[in-house]
C-alpha cells in the first residue's frame, strides 16, 4: 500500500458535482414502485397462461389493456435495470475505459431490449 493517503475529495474539489444524482435516485424509486404493481401483474398473467396454446397466449397479450400494461412493464423494467446495473458497474469496475465501455453497452442494450419488446407487443396487438 502506498503512503499516499490523501482524500479523493481534494481531487474532486473545483470539478463540481454532476448534478444528476438526485434524479437517478428518484427515477430508480419511481420505476421500482411501478414494478411492484406491474411485476405482480406480469407474474399472475404468466401463471394464467401456463398451459395456454400459442394462439390463446398471443390473443391475451394482444388485448388492449394487457398490451398497455405489458408496454408499461417493459419500459419500467429496462429503465430500472439500466439504473441498477449502472450503480453496480460504478461500484465494482475500477478500470476507467472498461467502466465507460460497459456503461455505454448497458445503456444501448437496455434501450434495444425495451424497443424490441415494445415493437413485438404493438405488432401482436395490431395483428392478433
Amino acid at each position: 500500500m502506498s503512503t499516499h493517503l490523501r482524500t479523493p475529495l481534494k481531487n474532486a474539489r473545483g470539478l463540481g458535482s454532476a448534478k444528476s444524482g438526485v434524479s437517478h435516485w428518484v427515477v430508480q424509486r419511481l420505476t421500482a414502485l411501478a414494478l411492484v404493481v406491474l411485476g405482480v401483474w406480469f407474474t399472475i398473467l404468466v401463471l394464467n397462461l401456463l398451459h395456454a396454446d400459442y394462439f390463446t397466449a398471443r390473443a391475451t397479450i394482444g388485448q388492449p389493456l394487457n398490451a398497455i400494461f405489458m408496454t408499461a412493464f417493459v419500459v419500467a423494467l429496462f429503465w430500472h435495470t439500466q439504473l441498477g446495473l449502472q450503480v453496480v458497474i460504478e461500484d465494482y469496475i475500477h478500470t476507467r475505459w472498461l467502466e465507460v465501455f460497459l456503461q455505454i453497452v448497458i445503456k444501448f442494450l437496455c434501450l434495444f431490449g425495451a424497443l424490441a419488446s415494445i415493437f413485438s407487443i404493438t405488432h401482436i396487438a395490431l395483428r392478433p
Binding site: M1, S2, H4, L5, R6, P8, N11, R29, A32, L33, L35, V36, G39, V40, T43, L47, L50, H51, Y54, A57, R58, I61, M70, V74, L77, F78, T81, G84, L85, V88, D91, H94, R96, G113, A116, S117, F119, S120, I121, H123, I124
Partner: protein, 131 residues
Amino acid sequence: MLQTARPLSPHLSIYRWQIQMVSSILHRATGVFLALGSILLCIGLLALDAGVESFATLQKFTGSWLGLLLLVGWTWSFCYHLLNGLRHLSLDAGWGFQISQFVCSGWIAVCSSLLLTLAIWIYVFMQGGHA
C-alpha cells in the same frame, strides 16, 4: 482510475456474515440475475410475435432441465428483489431504521421470498408442470 491504494469496498474478507450484509448483497446479485432474465422476456415477446414455430422452440428451451433451473432461479430472484425492494422503499420513507427492526425485516424478506417461490412452484406443478 484508482487514486489511492486504500482498501475499497466490499471488504468481504474482514466481515462476519450477518443478515444486514446478506440482504444487501442478495439484492444486488438478484438484480443482476434478473437483468439477464429481461433478455428472456424480450426474446419471449419476439418469439410470440414471430409465430408458432419460434414460440415452440422457446418453449422447448424453457421446458428443459436448464430452463426449469433458470425459471426457478428467476422466480426466487424476483420474489426476493420485490420484497427486499419494498423494504428499501420503506427505509427510504424513514421506517424501520432501528437495528432490531432492520435485522427482523431482513430475515422476513429472505424467508418469505423462499416461501413465495415454493408456493408459486407448488401451484405450477399442481397445474401439471411448467413445460
